[in-house]
Symmetry: C2
Amino acid sequence: MTTAERTARMGLLAAHDGGDLGLARLVRDRGAVEVWDHVRAGGSTQLARRASVVDVDEVRRQTSACGARFIIPGDDEWPGGVDELAWSDPVGHSGGEPLGLWVIGPARLSDLTGSVAMVGSRASTAYGEHVAADWAAGLAEHGRVVVSGGAYGIDAAAHRGVLGSGGVTVAVMAGGLARLYPVGNSALLDQIAKQGAVVSEYPPERSPSRARFLVRNRLIAALSQATVIVEAALRSGAQNTVSWALSLQRPVLAAPGPVTSSTSYTPHRLIRESQAIAATTVEDILEVVEPLGVSRMINPGASDPSQPLLGGVCVSETGLTPAQARVRAILPSRRGISVDELSARTGESPLALLVSLAQLKQLGQAVQTRFGTWRVAHP
Amino acid sequence: MTTAERTARMGLLAAHDGGDLGLARLVRDRGAVEVWDHVRAGGSTQLARRASVVDVDEVRRQTSACGARFIIPGDDEWPGGVDELAWSDPVGHSGGEPLGLWVIGPARLSDLTGSVAMVGSRASTAYGEHVAADWAAGLAEHGRVVVSGGAYGIDAAAHRGVLGSGGVTVAVMAGGLARLYPVGNSALLDQIAKQGAVVSEYPPERSPSRARFLVRNRLIAALSQATVIVEAALRSGAQNTVSWALSLQRPVLAAPGPVTSSTSYTPHRLIRESQAIAATTVEDILEVVEPLGVSRMINPGASDPSQPLLGGVCVSETGLTPAQARVRAILPSRRGISVDELSARTGESPLALLVSLAQLKQLGQAVQTRFGTWRVAHP
């Protein structure tokens, strides 16, 4: 990638925040360099006013000072999965793919095959922390990367579970990497930066804010093949991360818990509403993510917008997993087939079929009709 | 009902056990009196040999001695819901409607509108007992009868929850009512007999056995509009009761619990496999049972075998509940419609629709095709 491209994207992120649908679309349509040159040429927009005071060289110095690197689409290290945000429905008023990411740590974000987001309440219980740490450790032992937000409670328990197993974990921040937050988790975040990666789409000195937490959540979901929610009360930021995962049509799993605990509310609601699969063991999680060894990351590169839906999707060497291939083989090409009917024909559970169908949809191989039935996608 | 009919049914139950598919079918086809006369006339069958030594007058004395009454189909007090066992699939090698029931207590089994079975592990945890007692008390406060098996653990917690709320609870025994089992629950069972009902299809002096527990479970499910399972490990008798409820196409709910507890295994499995709805509050249970006040028991009587499917089903004054009527109105008469498609058209959740469809099927108004789709039943 050219220096101009890198400078433009860093400048735009310094002049604005991530998650702006309009800016993401503009960059997608016109290219970052043209957009950056345009806003730097002056004008009365808020973006232009902010861009006029951005010192990209200073942001570069801050990036080096905190030991970070700045990666953009087209870099080998770029995690293709986040580009799917371009095509997912916005949650609230934000969305879109990130223009670039700051990263500290040895982990390469392009190596996130079978990665799992684990999120939940900051006000967690001993039960939830036990489950999060136990499952995160189990996922690490199966070679999976666990992605979370570095917050107190479930996030911290998940990160600690991985670190204790010598695995790789990624923490996505809602502020710049020179201001790791929360301060009480400094030692944990430092260890994650040494053993995995700490990531942000904000320049190093930007402080976290409530809006940035919500926008950040889309990256946690987009960096992961599945999202697991462990403990969340009626109102919880973890619900927001789940909404992003659903918007990306990636599987969501929820840990059941005591019905007597308020932190069981959201996981149970998601299960009842069939938005999440009830997860009771690490095996339940592994079942819905791509197996290691048989998959690779396809990244056609940002320069090929004609195949956006394939960006960063994990597929097997043969193109489809056995489960996907079985479903694909009996999908009709004209009128749709219901999940019930598919279930009757294949003997597989509706939930397993829905996972395969969502993956086939991501791969551009299946579409859902307005009646909720499924058929082959026509190119 | 004639004395001959009552004598024949009491005699047959004394000569045999309940839950024998062949005997139930024979009585359905030929009538109890003819079958009883036939086996009493001699013969080499096991039933005939046993019948030859039955002293019905002695069974009648034992019935009076323990304060029980013997009820049969056609009695005002007969619970029509159990007659649906005639049409449900057998579980294991047993099934079929009971020929009669012994009852102690003031509760009338015909008044079980909106009744709920609550079953679970004998080796329960404090968590499960708390949930069972709490929900049972809540159901009682909403005027619901709670049916269970009088065993240690979840059964006892459910019964106690109801008794503590001054409500009505029914315990179905796996042995005769002169031998209330388990002995450790004697005080509890005595109280149930005073405030609700203790029920058995076995003559008063019959001892409980493993086979009788399994056969008894079908009565717990059949006396209830819905079955709630609270705590059950991998192998549990509660799973058997759930199988009967599913065989009767009545809703099953399961209480989630800590994934770290082995007693959460079966509830979570049932939820994952979409056999049970995740219940988190009493309201979740009330949602799937018939509302009180708008329903009545239709009991066409055992003398009208042409309408067996209507036996004891609860329907509203207009014939259908509003939810049932909405679904019935859009069911096609030719090819079936999938639950997904129904959900897309009505905006109702697949689970709510499945409940309505199961009820319409019970009412003989809907049938499921071999592809799992649904259409109007043709008379």
